[in-house]
Each structure stands twice: as C-alpha cells, then as structure tokens.
Amino acid sequence: MNPALLVAIIQNIVVPEVAGIIRAHRQQTGQDPTDAEIIAKLQIDATKFIDAGEAWLAAHPE
C-alpha cells in the first residue's frame, strides 16, 4: 500500500467526527455541547448505523 495513501486513509478515519461536530457546535452557538446533546448524538449515530446494518442483513439472508 502506498504510504501516502495509507496516511490519508488513517487521517480520514482517525479524525473523530465528534470533534468536528463539537467544533461546528462551538462556532454556531459559542458554547461547547452539553451532556444532553452528546447523549442525544449517541442515540442518533447508533440508530443510523443499526438501521443501515439491519437493512443490509435483511437484503442478504443466510
């Protein structure tokens, strides 16, 4: 694997999306996210991936 490509992939994967959302939230509101907002985000993110995974599993029965 090309090292430059590897670094690019790693940077894209390891840069946490949560950090980006926190920055965006701070820029929009001037404040860091609250506990309630982080808890809500966990619910939204997990549900999104669960729905996508279950849809794929339903389309690919054993």
Partner: protein, 134 residues
C-alpha cells in the same frame, strides 16, 4: 512471509497513529456528568464500528468481500451499536466480548485486506483504549 511481515508492519503503524489520535479525544470540558462522558466515549466507538460496517458492506458490494464473511461482521456491528446505544453504563465488558468473538470468524486475509485493515484496526484500538478493562 515477506508479505505477512509487511502487513504486520502496516497494522502496527496504524495502531500507533490511532493511539496518538485517540489520546487527543478527551471529552470537552462542557461535558460534566458521568453519563455525558460515558456517552461521549461510547459515541467514539459507535463511529468506528459504523465505519467498519460501511467498509464491509461496500467491499461486499464491489466483490472484495464474500457475503458469507460480510454477514458476521455486520451482525456484530449491529449488535455492538445496540449495546452501546441501549446500555448507558457497563457496556465495556459486553462490547469487548462481542468484538473478541468476531475476530476468529474473519480470516486474516480479509481483516488485512486494503478494504478492511484500517477500519478494523480503528475498532480494535478504540475498544482497547476507550473501553476500559473488562
């Protein structure tokens, strides 16, 4: 043999970068309660697990991964995300066991493939470094 050594080298490199990246991912100061900090950590793992799921689905769609291999990965990622979402505290042991159960089901040739190696390592490191000790 040379190929295996190269693969191991790449995995170690990825792991080192992930540890460095995750070390800087502490929850912001505005998150004050234990529940908020737990949710922040869980969300970090949810995102990594979701990336693995997306990579497995995409690799299956493009012929890089057999459906028989993608299925246990997706079953596990769905289960992991349900645990992380529905168990506000105490998810660490269950998540670590579910992840450990998946590993022997996926041959190394697929775990180390370009489609999965980085995202697999990301989940591994996230669970190890953020999940605590069972």
């Amino acid at each position: 043999m040379r190929r295996l050594k190269r693969s191991e080298e790449i995995r170690r490199y990825i792991a080192l970068l992930l540890v460095l990246a995750l070390a800087g991912c502490n929850a912001p100061a505005s998150i004050k309660t234990p529940a908020g900090r737990t949710a922040y950590t869980a969300d970090q793992i949810v995102l990594r697990v979701g990336e693995l799921q997306g990579a497995a689905i995409q690799a299956e769609q493009t012929g890089g991964l057999p459906a028989t291999i993608a299925r246990p990965i997706v079953e596990t990622t769905v289960a992991l995300n349900k645990i992380l979402r529905d168990t506000p505290s105490g998810w660490q042991v269950t998540v670590q066991h579910a992840w450990a159960d998946l590993k022997p089901k996926i041959p190394a040739q697929y775990r180390d493939s370009p489609a999965l190696a980085a995202v697999w390592a990301a989940v591994d490191i996230a669970i190890l470094s953020l999940g605590g000790t069972p």
